[in-house]
């Protein structure tokens, strides 16, 4: 097969950046995206830490760079068969294509916050998720967010580091997202008290600590170490949170006007299906298994199958972008036989 066609599954940040790089490297990328838009989760986000870059402008800029690349929206992979030196792929829109390599960039899904029943997402009027809040930042539309807020609570690790929720892993980005959103909320509601309930603050990246200090010093955000155990609704519709302040060793209660759940990142539900089509492996955390997690994170154990972004584990946007570029290079080398 002489074709330089590379199938990219997923049109999020990873897929888009990999496509751009692959084309620059002389390949012919084809993007298959199951939703009706490019950009994945980032497209629905408002601002990206740590530079507070507008997510929509980033996605716009990335989309523009895809001019001329075949993109199938609202399409999924129906079947995929390994050929001698490539793959024969059938898409759900009826298109069949032959490609030399496949890049899985299928990303993640947000933990379904209603599964943490005790937090009452979907049951109480004033409970939203991090993603809902970003949507509200973008559109200003959400009936659950009232005009006057005097206490806003953020609960970290919703569906992360939680065996009972089926995900013992850390989702890595939620702490920083919570700090970012806390600051953004304080800017919108300067008189509100903001409370972040955390188990550990995992703020590891460049400038993240600055955000944390700013949130404390300049915005007076309260950080309470302790996981919220349960939430109830009061007669006036506000929510009452119960937690332990583990540093004070005392039970605390908070009546909040808005509760924001920092839903974690899980592997996309269709990733396992994709993996089984090409006999790629799924790791113990449900994400795809890389050849190793240090040196060959972009490679699967099968020739011609590559990974980029959050399909192999929780990633930040810059990490995803870097991985997409690395994967493009790996694929190019693979196609040239320089493995």
């Amino acid at each position: 097969m002489d074709s330089q066609t590379v199938l990219i599954i997923g049109g999020g940040v990873a897929g888009m950046e990999a496509a751009r790089q692959l084309r620059l490297l002389g390949c012919e990328p084809v993007i298959v995206e199951k939703s009706d838009h490019l950009g994945g989760h980032v497209a629905g986000w408002h601002k990206l830490f740590p530079d507070m870059l507008s997510a929509s402008s980033l996605i716009e800029r990335m989309s523009e760079s895809l001019d001329g690349i075949t993109v199938y929206l609202k399409t999924q992979v129906a079947s995929m068969n390994r050929l001698k030196d490539g793959f024969s792929v059938m898409l759900t829109n009826g298109t069949g294509l032959l490609c030399r390599a496949v890049l899985i960039a299928s990303g993640f899904r947000l933990f379904e916050a209603s599964r943490k029943e005790e937090y009452g997402y979907g049951v109480y009027d004033r409970v939203i998720t991090n993603s809902d809040l970003e949507y509200w930042f973008n559109t200003g539309e959400d009936d659950r967010i009232p005009d006057n807020l005097s206490n806003i609570a953020f609960v970290h690790c919703v569906g992360s580091r939680d065996l009972k929720a089926g995900n013992p892993q850390c989702s890595k980005v939620c702490c920083m997202t919570a700090v970012k959103q806390a600051i953004e909320m304080k800017e919108r509601f300067p008189d509100a008290e903001i409370w972040c309930f955390y188990m550990d603050l995992r703020l590891f990246g460049k400038k993240y600590e600055d955000f944390y200090i700013n949130a404390q010093r300049d915005y007076g955000v309260h950080f309470v170490r302790g996981r919220v155990s349960e939430v109830s609704e009061d007669i006036d519709g506000r929510v009452i949170l119960k937690a332990e302040d583990t540093l004070a060793g005392r039970q605390v209660k908070l009546k909040a006007d808005l509760l924001v759940l920092m839903a974690g990142m899980l592997c996309n539900e269709d990733t396992a299906g994709l993996a089984s089509m090409v006999r790629a492996e799924v790791d113990s955390d449900g994400f795809l298994r890389s050849r190793d997690n240090i040196f060959r994170i972009n490679e699967s154990s099968r020739p011609g199958i590559f990974f980029a972004g959050a399909c192999t584990g929780t990633k930040t946007v810059p990490e995803t972008v870097a991985e997409a570029r690395a994967a493009a290079l790996d694929i190019r080398n693979y196609l040239n036989g320089n493995d």
Binding site: S114, E117, Y124, S232, E233, I235
Partner: protein, 356 residues
């Protein structure tokens, strides 16, 4: 509150309940505190709905109280439970229904433990054999009696004489549902509706025309807590928890409380008197308390049984205001009459809580 959200959760927590052929085990506490409740449960099931429910005079405590009071080891409780299973097996039944929530929790916990540790089950079988020469089959289904009433709630509603509606205003009565802790907090999938928003009682209230109120301390324990009550020095802790619940439900002005546990109705009822004596505070209208019912009592009222036959006169909190709201016919003078209509003495009235 988004009702659809709850419905979505309820759909995840439905359990299969066989409609017939039950081996019934009574509750230690309820036989003393609410004997009429168990009597009317059997009456409703057998006489009204025509179900086959069998009980054996040989069954004993399940050991749950002693287990939760830390006075016997779990193995002992397991052996007692094994004997009950043996009684059921001997009687030819496969479905176990318990009157007591703690028994329900105890049976469930033991069965789950045996599932995880089969060697323990083997040892208990050996223990039982050595002690009593009995053998047993594990029940196919374990249900709580309230599960059955929940299952038959619509049949009861069809036969209802009264509804949980204020006859004077036509508005639904506001009912607080209180679930016993051992019902589903340990094993959410064993309870109807799960642990966070169980619907076993709220389902009954809904079908019988009442309105369930959801107050912040809904999940909280009634305060009984076994050790907390059993030791007198700890009773302040027990009543403080009950107080917390009443303070939390007070703004909603509930008309009644429905419970499915032996201890809960007792403590929610009696502690209202203690709280009134200690703080001067009552939670019902016009100085009355909030009447507390077992689900059988409420079912009995709905079905039109005589309140005094249902044993409501032995409640601390006066039930008459609720009876009046529901429009239940009753004879106030018959309240303290014995079985043969002989006059019993009237109890002394509390200083603060209004009673009859």
């Amino acid at each position: 509150m988004i009702y659809q959200g709850k419905q979505k959760i309820w759909s995840d927590y439905q359990k299969e309940i066989p409609s017939d052929g039950w081996f019934y085990v009574r509750s230690c506490i309820r036989q003393s505190f609410f004997p009429a409740s168990e009597k009317y449960f059997l009456a409703i099931c057998r006489d009204l709905l025509g179900k086959d429910i069998y009980e054996s005079e040989h069954h004993t405590t399940c050991g749950g109280i002693a287990y939760h009071c830390d006075t016997i080891p779990q193995e002992t409780a397991m052996t007692i439970v094994a004997r009950q299973f043996a009684l059921m097996t001997e009687a030819g039944y496969k479905n176990l229904v318990t009157s007591c929530i703690t028994s329900f929790g105890n049976y469930t916990e033991i069965l789950e433990t045996w599932r995880e540790f089969p060697e323990l089950e083997a040892r208990i079988r050996e223990n039982l054999w050595k002690a009593t020469r009995r053998e047993f089959e594990k029940p196919e289904y374990v249900a709580h009696a309230s599960d059955l009433v929940y299952k038959f709630r619509n049949e009861i509603a069809e036969r209802a004489k009264y509804r949980l509606v204020d006859v004077r205003t036509g508005k639904p009565l506001k009912i607080v549902e209180h679930i016993g802790c051992h019902y589903s907090k340990m094993f959410p999938h064993k309870g109807i509706g799960g642990a966070e928003y169980p619907c076993v009682l709220s389902g009954m209230v809904d079908s019988w025309g009442g309105e369930v109120i959801d107050y912040p301390e809904r999940r909280h324990c009634c305060g009984f807590g076994f050790r907390q009550y059993m030791v007198k020095a700890n009773r302040g802790y027990s009543v403080s928890n009950t107080y917390k619940k009443f303070e939390s439900m007070e703004p909603y002005h509930p008309d009644a409380i429905i419970t499915n546990c032996p201890g809960c109705p007792y403590f929610l009822d009696r502690w209202q008197y203690v709280i009134s004596e200690q703080t001067g505070k009552t939670y019902g209208q016009n100085g009355f308390g909030i009447p507390v019912f077992t689900y059988e009592e409420l079912a009995g009222l709905v079905l039109g049984y005589d309140p005094w036959d249902l044993g409501l006169q032995i409640h601390q909190v006066a039930v008459e205001p609720l009876l009046d709201k529901m429009g239940v016919e009753y004879d106030p003078d018959a309240k303290y009459l014995g079985i043969n209509k002989e006059k019993l003495m009237k109890p002394a009235l509390p200083s603060c809580l209004k009673c009859f």
